[in-house]
């Protein structure tokens, strides 16, 4: 069993906005291409051109419909490690390969000591752990630990690859332990929530829920419903008279 730090100096994590994710998979493939040549190298792929292509991905996107009829909506849901404050994937690790960093809260796997027993993937309720068939070890989101502190990368780009990639800006990175950080403020404003809160693992990553729609169902309830003059619509003469009046008014 592996122990956790008493506390972490920072709580680095992601805030994912479900209101604007369009499901383009830009974060997923950017994650794959960065990490397959980075800390987690390689993220191998088996049967890549065959009947059952499958490989290690640290970030996957799911699309599904929720609700019925007029209330139905399509949601794109990116899924990766949430870097929990009390992650069972770490405490269950028999070798100490899984660990949570005291300085920033990032949960990592040390592949040198990982034995590929997969206990962590059983313990994680979020399905965030991936087994690499080529290496026989577990792999997971590192929050791009090899990008965010990397002085070889321009400062503006020192964010996880998925955050830099995201075309709609649905992903933000920051310190969720600092209530003044931009990510913490967006969680406060938008009602950001924990995934599977009841499990009690205290995920650091947060999801922002879709905003309320402004469609037929909400338009009627709107405080200032769109107003328009009633149409006489049938009389072309009256319409032309209005045009003439308007144009001559402009003349004077």
């Amino acid at each position: 069993m592996t122990s956790l730090p008493q506390r972490t100096d920072r709580k680095l994590g992601l805030v994912i906005d479900l209101d604007i994710c369009v499901g383009c998979h830009g974060c997923a493939t950017s994650c794959k291409e960065w990490n397959t040549g980075g800390y987690s190298a390689p993220l191998s792929d088996q049967d890549p051109y065959g009947a059952d292509p499958h490989g290690a991905w640290l970030n996957r996107i799911h699309a599904y419909e929720v609700g019925e009829g007029a209330a139905s909506r399509t949601v794109h849901f990116p899924r990766s490690c949430l870097h929990c404050e009390t992650p069972a994937c770490v405490t269950v690790c028999p070798t100490g390969a899984s660990y949570k960093r005291a300085e920033d809260g990032i949960v990592l796997v040390n592949p040198d000591t990982c034995i590929g027993c997969k206990l962590c993937s059983w313990a994680c309720p979020y399905g965030a752990r991936e087994y690499d068939y080529a290496h026989g070890v577990m792999k997971k989101c590192t929050l791009c630990v090899d990008r965010i502190y990397n002085t070889n990368i321009p400062e503006r780009d020192r964010v996880p690859a998925c955050v830099k990639a995201c075309p709609t800006g649905a992903r933000a990175f920051g310190d969720l332990g600092d209530p003044q950080s931009e990510v913490s403020r967006s969680v406060a404003v938008r009602g950001g929530y924990n995934l599977l809160e009841a499990f009690g693992y205290q995920p650091v990553n947060k999801y922002l829920p879709p905003r309320e729609r402004r469609d037929a169902t909400t338009a009627a309830r709107s405080a200032s419903p769109p107003t328009m003059p009633t149409s006489d619509g049938t009389s072309i003469e009256r319409f032309f008279a209005w045009v003439d009046r308007t144009l001559s008014a402009k003349e004077t």
Partner: protein, 952 residues
């Protein structure tokens, strides 16, 4: 803590170039380590994507390393369609191509048909075809989105996507029609995120709720092909509620131009004109008829006005108002056909009006209009719209797109703050002053064609027809069948050539278009055409040359293969002469340059074309002494070619010292400047030039100086398209022009100078009955795939490697279908077997699937049992390329009657549940293709292993 170096070097070198994982052309930074591609990310300084990258772009490494890459030139050894080839040298390949092409050029150049697919080098390929002298050239626009380009260019001198974009920064209301995930993808995604954060409203009008529609504030699940009726009802409502910008209409459009009312005469419906040819308006200030446009006019928009010859003329606006205020355009009248409740149509109209007029923008930016009048502010109507293939790919797409533009114009929202903005070099004159070449007298052995293949006819005299009115182009573009075919009809070339209708050809030369599979209609018939033989045993299409980087399905049907490079191994030029990457705030162009060297015996197609041009002694590719004009290949051409003095493929850093933009002598240092500057160049317009470009003196004078515009005359929006009336008059027999009888009624109906909605099935005439095939069937492209390219990609095919037929739950219930059941999709042409997935977010009588996932066994280096071949299916097999026989036996192409745009989305089907015991495997499946020589596909990928690690 285990040892961990969090600051390892990323790469040895970073090269900035342009992505080609789709048509969006984002800037990318390619990280190289030990000479290999390590990582590709978005270029933060690039105007298109500003640093972001999509699912496709970030998977570019796997495209670059695809085992489907061809290795060397190939010569067919077996029968066509078997996929049996031998590798040959480039010298053999180019000699053979030169022999084939040279013989045809010496005899009759039109017997070469040269069509290019999704390439971005049409200014070169078109130029080459002009030099060769064949009239039979176009790119793929005819089966993509020519309806959008033509409708826009005939209406306001711009168009959606490449020629314009919403003012994302300021718009308050964004109306998105149809599937849009496939063009301008990252800019739109980036913008949607911004709009949502700003609280601007997004409305998606689309039979299917996916992707962008999923995050819209409102999804309108419209019935396919009825968008035009929906828009006409919005127009009706805006007119009825007086929510239109009359001042804008009077200033910038032909709303006041007087239309001659003289039924039965050759001038009925044309503009009354003065002696100088200017259209007349009734000036309220003086009571006189005055030629427009002119400074200081107060034109009437209503009334009947007596012309000098005693005839009457009515302003365009009066005709327009009469049409759309008619009760048959009322929301109630549109509700049933569109499936959109009248209350919704009224509410959307009210919301558009509220955004345009209540949220009016006033930018404190003085500007001067074309008359010299100075305005203290730029007034904005923050409503914007976007549409692409969902509108385009119907047989009523041209008129539907025109209706959308009319809606924008009535709201005063073209090129104003918050509205839809031109991207320079647009606007162009309406329509652009280019006429198509390819009439019988234009085509002569060993001589270039006298001008461009593609253009904008304004009267029947511009058509490419012979004395009998028969088409002179193989695809019948610019004939009476498709008079405004501004992008040609690539989808008809193989069928027409094999049937010898209008004539047969000797060489078919294709680039980068999978015309034997997902890019063609009616795959089974087209495969027969590609392999059909005459009575002597010779192929009816005698020779087929094809260039592609990958072992696509089309490779198997060609005789000679010229293997292309990947996008990281080549030069390319994304030119202002072609399809630039401009932003509304300024023109921009870009390049690709080789960031790695090919490890195979392949060459960029553009290099090959320039080489062939010299071997064929085409004048523009040969120096007077007979040597190659561009010995340095495509890079040499990009820098040194001048289309007209001072104007070449790239606009940046021109002139000997690189100080000029737009016009200037070739600069030998130009490519280096591009490479050092991120692979692109953008010129930023001055603040006073950025809006009202169609009427902005500063902009128009500058655009004329740099060669974008022929003159600084204003661009007047054509609500009423007079050239269409000229075709209609001819078809009605008013003008004495000879119009073949079979086309008269059709041209007279569809060349209405004001846009109208008609059911797409009207065009087919004797089409299959709605009772037999009551369900619409359409496709969308997954956001992480681009055409057929995606499923060869080891990463992308892990996301999607089979497609389902998506069926609304209610329809599924009626048919007793559950998820994973298999059905037959039955259409008039045949049937296709597919697995089902039920959903809520689609129009109840519309089924749909992802486009181009299905693959033919043997192609794309996929294993024979890949899901793409066993479960992946295409709807293409059910879409006829020809419409049913008309009276007299004539068969039109399955296209828009105005532009010839392929009507992919008009497919009607019914579903039949598969019997128990039928195999869960798609049908039809075709004979497996032999694998041309390509790279061996690995069983496992460990990409990045050499680069990675945790320690220094």
């Amino acid at each position: 803590m285990p040892p961990l170096d969090t600051s390892r070097p990323v790469s040895d070198e970073v090269k900035a170039t342009t992505c080609y994982m789709c048509a969006c052309r984002c800037g990318i930074l390619v990280h190289l380590k030990d000479g290999e591609v390590r990582y590709i990310e978005g270029n933060p300084d690039h105007p298109v994507n500003k640093g972001v990258i999509c699912g496709k772009g970030a998977a570019g490494i796997m495209q670059h390393l695809s085992p489907a890459r061809l290795r060397a030139p190939l010569l067919r050894t077996g029968e066509r369609g078997k996929g049996e080839f031998k590798e040959i040298s480039w010298e053999e390949a180019l000699s053979l191509a030169t022999d084939w092409l040279g013989e045809v050029r010496d005899r009759d150049p039109k017997r070469l048909a040269f069509f290019t697919g999704r390439d971005q080098s049409q200014s070169l390929t078109g130029y080459w075809a002009i030099q060769y002298g064949t009239p039979n050239y176009a790119a793929h626009g005819g089966f993509c989105s020519v309806n959008m380009a033509a409708a826009g260019l005939y209406t306001f001198g711009g168009a959606f996507w490449e020629f314009g974009e919403p003012d994302w920064e300021r718009t308050e209301y964004f109306l998105l029609f149809g599937v849009a995930e496939d063009h301008g993808s990252n800019p739109i995604k980036k913008a949607l995120g911004t709009l949502k954060k700003r609280g601007a409203k997004i409305v998606a009008v689309n039979p299917v709720r996916t992707g962008y529609g999923a995050i819209a504030d409102e999804w309108i699940g419209i019935k396919p092909g009825t968008d035009g009726l929906f828009v006409a009802a919005l127009i009706h409502e805006l007119l009825a509620t007086r929510k239109i910008d009359l001042d804008y209409l009077a200033r910038y459009t032909n709303a006041p131009w007087l239309v001659i009312d003289a039924p039965g005469t050759a001038e009925h419906g044309l503009f009354a004109r003065d002696e100088a040819g200017k259209a007349l308006v009734h000036d309220l200030a003086t009571g006189q008829l005055v030629g427009a446009p002119a400074a200081g006019l107060k034109p009437a928009l209503t009334g009947r006005h007596t012309l000098a010859d005693g005839r009457a003329g009515q302003p365009v606006f009066a005709l327009l108002a009469e049409r759309y205020l008619d009760p048959h355009h009322a929301p109630e009248a549109a509700a049933e056909a569109t499936g959109v409740p009248a209350s919704t149509i009224r509410r959307i109209a009210a919301e558009l009006a509220e955004a345009a007029f209540t949220k009016e923008i006033r930018l404190a930016q003085p500007w001067t209009d074309w008359t010299g009048e100075t305005h203290a502010e730029m007034v904005g109507r923050p409503v914007s719209m976007h549409a692409m293939r969902g509108i385009s790919a119907h047989a009523n797409g041209f008129h539907t797109c025109r209706l959308i533009h009319i809606l924008q114009i009535l709201l005063g929202s073209i090129d104003c703050p918050g509205g839809f903005r031109y991207k320079p070099p647009y606007p162009k004159p309406v329509p652009p002053p280019l006429k198509p070449f390819g009439k019988p007298g234009h085509v002569k052995p060993r001589e270039p064609l006298g001008g461009p293949h593609l253009g904008f006819p304004t009267s029947p005299a511009d058509l490419l027809v012979d004395d009998e009115g028969k088409p002179t182009r193989i695809d019948k573009a610019f004939s009476w069948e498709a008079p405004f075919a501004a992008h040609g009809l690539m989808h008809m070339v193989i069928t027409n050539a094999a049937l010898g209708n209008p004539y047969s050809i000797d060489v078919l030369f294709l680039y980068m278009a999978n015309m034997s599979w997902n890019s063609t209609m009616n795959v089974p018939a087209v495969l027969e055409h590609l392999t059909a033989k005459d009575e002597t045993g010779a192929y009816k299409i005698p020779k087929i040359i094809y260039s592609d980087a990958y072992a696509s399905e089309m490779v198997a049907y060609a005789d000679l293969i010229l293997p292309d490079t990947t996008y990281l191994e080549r030069y390319d030029c994304i030119s202002l002469l072609d399809r630039p990457i401009s932003e509304a705030d300024g023109p921009a162009d870009a390049i690709r340059h080789p960031v790695v060297t090919p490890d195979r015996d392949v060459r960029g197609f553009q290099e090959v074309l320039i080489d062939l041009g010299h071997r064929l002694k085409l004048p523009a590719f040969t120096s007077p002494d007979g040597s190659p004009k561009y010995p340095g290949g495509y890079a040499d051409y990009i820098v040194n070619h001048e289309r007209s003095p001072g104007i070449g493929p790239l606009a940046g850093w021109r002139g000997e010292d690189g100080a000029n933009f737009g016009k200037g002598k070739p600069n030998p240092d130009q490519l280096r400047r591009y490479i050092e500057s991120g692979g692109f160049h953008m010129h930023h317009l001055k603040p006073e030039q950025r809006f009202y470009k169609h009427a902005n003196k500063d902009y128009l004078e500058w655009a004329t100086a740099v060669g974008f515009m022929p003159s600084s005359e204003p661009v007047i929006f054509q609500l009423y398209v007079e050239p269409m009336q000229r075709f209609r008059l001819a078809a009605e027999g008013r003008t004495g022009e000879s119009v073949p009888e079979q086309h008269r009624a059709r041209v007279a109906r569809y060349f209405d100078p004001l846009p109208f909605w008609y059911p797409p099935e009207d065009v087919a005439g004797a089409g299959p009955s709605r009772t037999a095939y009551p369900i619409h069937a359409v496709t969308q492209r997954p956001m992480h795939m681009y055409h057929s390219w995606g499923t060869q990609n080891a990463w992308l095919r892990q996301i999607t490697n089979e497609n389902r037929l998506y069926v609304h739950r209610d329809l599924g219930r009626r048919l007793g279908l559950a998820d994973d059941d298999w059905v037959w999709i039955v259409g008039a042409l045949g049937r296709v077997k597919a697995p089902v997935r039920l959903m809520t977010g689609c129009h109840p009588d519309t089924v749909w699937t992802w486009n181009a996932i299905g693959k033919r066994q043997g192609a794309w280096a996929l294993d024979p049992d890949a899901p793409e071949t066993t479960k992946g299916f295409l709807l293409n097999h059910l879409i006829s390329e020809l419409m049913p026989e008309q009276a007299g036996g004539y068969r039109y192409s399955n296209s828009d009657p105005v532009t010839g745009q392929a009507a992919w989305y008009d497919l009607m089907v019914r579903l039949e549940r598969c019997a128990p015991g039928e195999p869960h495997e798609t049908s039809p499946r075709f004979e497996p293709l032999g694998r041309p020589t390509q790279i061996d596909a690995p069983r496992e990928l460990r990409f990045g292993e050499a680069f990675g690690g945790r320690r220094s």
